[in-house]
Structure formats: structure tokens, C-alpha cells
């Protein structure tokens, strides 16, 4: 290895005394050929690699559609007990797209934290444990939600009462149209949202992602989760014969 390996040489081929050098030429023909070879190979690989990769990661950027769904009438729910409702999370895949929501009427004495607007007149809790997504069970005697996997426990409001879960149980938007509006008397369920320990709303996160402190920045919102659909076109309940519309 020559000792003057790092010695600065002129960038012009003519100065370096290359055969066939042109005035002002800096790239040798050999280096040009090499660049063309690498470039063409790279383009060829990218030509099938990039579309395939884009195809595979496409769902990360595609927003999932969501529709309001009817989960019952206003008389089905009370302020003191949860009712278990089967809901559809993903449409078109049958049983595998279903889930469970625990629903009750909002009780102003208990639910005095977080936003209180038209979207949570009914409290609908997701049955997915916020530790790692196991199905929690509502135990009536203890008024607790209990996860069978790693021992998460939630209180009546869905807040963490013990164990490893990092945030309260996720909730669903609910909407009950006021008198005189289509769908009055029914309770509609919208997409899921997440809450932090003060029950503030966040766009839906996956289980295991804390939302307190810097959690919401460590686990950013995704472009794929469903947003709350407009209430302009609520699906109407089936008319019961003999009752009029």
C-alpha cells in the first residue's frame, strides 16, 4: 500500500496524465461505466422492489371506513349496570370482525371527568384489555373488569385499578339522536377512541401504549384508524310493522 494514498490528486483526468483525457474532464470512462452499471442494477431492483413494498405497507396509510351502528334503544341501558353488546369492528369478515362493548348510561355523579358532550351520553367500553389486548370480563359482584392474561383490573369507570394496563379501557363514541331527529330513541355506536388517565379523548391507540405524559408522542396517532363519521346519514332502524315510522 503506497504511503501517499491520501495525497490530494487533481480531479481532472488531464492533470493526472490519463491516456485519452479531455480538457476539463473529471470522470474517467471506467468510473462512468461503473456508475451506469450500479445505477441500472439499482433501478431494475427498485422497479419490482418498491411497488411490492408499497403494496405491502399500503394499509398503514389507508383509513378504515366506519359506519354508525345501532346497539339498542335508550331503554336498554341503565346507569348502574353494564350491558354486554356484540358490535362489528371490521365489516365483511363475519365473526372475526366482531367484538364486545360494555355499555351503560352516563351517570353524572360518577362520570364527572373528561369531556361531557353528545358523544358520551352512553358510556361504551371496549372489552380489549389495555395491557396487551386480551378480552376483559365484567364481574358484577366486584364491579370490576378483570383481564385473564396478566392480571389487569379496571374499576367501574374503566380506569386501571391494578395490574399492568397502561391506560383506562378504550371507549366508543355513542350518539343518541334528540327528539324529532331520525333515529330518535336508539343508541348508536361509532368508532373507538382512547383515553388517558384523566379520561381525555385521543385517537385510537393499540393496547400497551400509554397516553400520559410523553406517551402520546411516543405512540403517535395512525393514519389508518377510523374517524367519527358524520351524523347526517345515520343508518335508520328497521321499522316495526304497525308502529308507523
Amino acid at each position: 500500500m503506497p504511503a501517499d494514498r491520501h495525497k490530494q490528486t487533481s480531479k481532472y483526468t488531464a492533470d493526472r496524465g490519463m491516456p485519452g483525457a479531455f480538457e476539463g474532464e473529471t470522470v474517467t470512462r471506467r468510473r462512468f461505466m461503473e456508475a451506469v452499471t450500479h445505477g441500472a442494477g439499482g433501478i431494475a431492483a427498485a422497479a419490482f422492489g418498491l411497488p411490492a413494498l408499497g403494496f405491502a405497507i399500503g394499509p398503514i396509510f389507508k383509513r378504515q371506513p366506519f359506519q354508525w351502528q345501532i346497539i339498542g334503544t335508550t331503554h336498554d341501558f341503565s346507569e348502574t349496570a353494564y350491558v354486554t353488546k356484540t358490535i362489528t369492528i371490521v365489516e365483511g369478515i363475519g365473526e372475526a370482525g366482531k367484538s364486545i362493548a360494555y355499555v351503560r348510561k352516563r351517570n353524572p355523579a360518577i362520570d364527572n371527568q373528561g369531556p361531557q358532550d353528545q358523544w358520551d351520553q352512553y358510556i361504551a367500553l371496549s372489552s380489549r384489555c389495555m395491557h396487551l389486548g386480551c378480552p376483559v370480563r365484567y364481574v358484577e359482584a366486584a364491579e370490576r373488569f378483570i383481564c385473564p392474561c396478566h392480571g389487569g383490573v379496571y374499576n367501574f369507570r374503566g380506569e386501571v385499578a391494578g395490574g399492568p394496563p397502561v391506560r383506562p379501557l378504550d371507549r366508543f363514541y355513542t350518539y343518541s339522536p334528540p327528539a324529532g331527529h331520525p333515529g330518535h330513541g336508539y343508541v348508536y355506536l361509532g368508532p373507538r377512541y382512547s383515553v388517558n388517565s384523566e379520561l381525555q379523548r385521543f385517537s385510537p391507540r393499540d393496547p400497551g401504549e400509554p397516553l400520559d405524559g410523553i406517551g402520546q408522542y411516543l405512540y403517535p396517532a395512525r393514519a389508518s384508524t377510523a374517524i367519527r363519521p358524520s351524523i347526517a346519514n345515520l343508518p335508520l332502524p328497521p321499522t316495526i310493522p304497525g308502529t308507523g315510522s
Binding site: P135, A141, A142, I146, G151, A161, P165, P210
Partner: protein, 245 residues
């Protein structure tokens, strides 16, 4: 390892290799016999245990107790061990496994001593054995973790037939009431926030237990409602707990 040690090793290895035998058929014979043995084991396992298929997917379950395959039990148990510090949940899920894998991955880059004989590598011996012991212990305790909706305690000796029946009934009530969300009962249940109940009968008299169930200190829910609506169940519950000595 410096250059001299590298050369020393290569020379030593060349000499040992020279004294050895050809790969075929000596080593290949051993490999083939081992392969036959492996195949026999796999086939026997398949014939003896088959390939059981559980119930079909049902995301709306509230009673299913998810458990991983045996080779992920250690990870499952790490998550349970970390269950009382929700702040460190991401540490348990991602942090520890990733660190372990990086440690394993880079092993030859930080352990560069030329010594190969395990008896002269005390640190490697100790950490290797400790890792094996850890994984074995975690796998074992992960495999033995029961559902938090069940109690698996032995019936105490010296109970007559009627008392046994009450004990069994109380066991079911404890399981269904979600006590194990906060209390440890034998190998099931969570260690906290409530005290372990495995030997509660030796610490508290039946009357005191009944009193605590009716007027607990927060966050424990009251069972006064149960005592009112079904006194038989409540009596069984109290009897079961006071039998735990």
C-alpha cells in the same frame, strides 16, 4: 484476541484437524443416527398427542383465557412479573426481549478472550447457567399460572362431606367474583393491591372476614349486596375463606 493469539489458534486447530477423521462417513453417520432419532421423536409426538384444534375464533368471548405456546411461556411470565409496575410495561414487552436478543447477537463481539474451555471462563459459565435457570424458571411458572377466574386450592383435610361441598361452592364464587384480580390465592391471582388470601383463615376469624366483605376499605368493592340478595352464597364465600388455613 490479538493477531498472535489468532495465529496460535489457527495453527492449533489445523493440527487437531489433521489428527481427525473425514467428515464422511464418520461424522455423517452420527448426524444420520441423530436425524433418525429426531424423526422418531416427532412422529411419536404426533401419534401420541395429535394436533388438537381448539374452538373456532370468537372475538366476542368474555370467558376465554388466552395462553401462549410453551416456548413463549417465559415471555408471558416476564409480563406477569412486571404486572405491578404499569410504567414499565413497554420495558417488559419490548425492552427486555430486545436487550436480550442484542446481547445474544453481539456475543462474539464483546466476548473476545481467546479462552474456550468453559471451566476457565467463570463469567460465561455463570451467566450461561443463570440464563438457563431464569428461562427454565419463567417457563415453569408461566406454565403453572392458572386462570384468574378459577381457584385451584386443595380441599383442606379434616372436612366432612357437607363441609367439602360448601368449600367447593365457595371456591366457585371466589373465582366468579373476580377476587383474584387483586388477591393471590395459591398459584392463581394477582399479588396486589389486596393482601394474599391463601392463608386468610389463620389470620382472621369467620366473623371478621364477613365484616370485611361487607364494609371493605377502598378500593375493595363491598359484598353487602351479595349478603342481601343471596345469603347462602355469601355464607359459602365466608366459610370458604375461613377454611383457608
Amino acid at each position: 484476541m490479538n493477531q498472535a493469539e489468532k495465529e496460535q489458534y489457527l495453527r492449533e486447530y489445523a493440527l487437531l484437524k489433521n489428527e481427525g477423521k473425514p467428515f464422511f462417513p464418520y461424522a455423517v453417520a452420527k448426524d444420520s443416527i441423530m436425524a433418525v432419532f429426531v424423526m422418531i421423536v416427532i412422529m411419536l409426538l404426533s401419534l401420541l398427542f395429535g394436533a388438537e384444534l381448539g374452538p373456532k375464533v370468537n372475538p366476542t368471548t368474555t370467558t376465554y383465557v388466552p395462553r401462549p405456546d410453551w416456548y413463549f411461556f417465559f415471555l408471558f411470565e416476564v409480563l406477569r412479573v412486571m404486572r405491578n409496575v404499569p410504567k414499565f410495561t413497554p420495558m417488559a414487552t419490548i425492552g427486555i426481549p430486545t436487550l436480550c436478543m442484542i446481547g445474544l447477537f453481539l456475543l462474539p463481539l464483546y466476548d473476545r478472550s481467546p479462552e474456550r474451555l468453559i471451566t476457565r471462563r467463570p463469567l460465561a459459565l455463570a451467566s450461561g447457567l443463570a440464563t438457563i435457570a431464569c428461562i427454565a424458571f419463567l417457563t415453569f411458572s408461566g406454565a403453572n399460572t392458572g386462570s384468574p377466574n378459577q381457584v385451584n386450592l386443595p380441599v383442606p383435610a379434616g372436612l366432612n362431606k357437607a363441609q367439602r361441598a360448601v368449600f367447593m361452592a365457595g371456591e366457585v364464587i371466589v373465582g366468579e367474583s373476580g377476587c383474584e384480580g387483586c388477591h393471590e390465592l395459591g398459584s392463581n391471582g394477582n399479588n396486589g393491591p389486596g393482601p394474599p388470601l391463601t392463608h386468610i383463615g389463620s389470620r382472621r376469624a369467620a366473623a371478621a372476614i364477613a365484616q370485611t366483605l361487607k364494609n371493605p376499605t377502598a378500593p375493595m368493592p363491598s359484598f353487602a349486596n351479595l349478603a342481601k340478595t343471596s345469603p347462602k352464597k355469601f355464607a359459602e364465600l365466608v366459610q370458604f375463606l375461613s377454611d383457608l388455613k
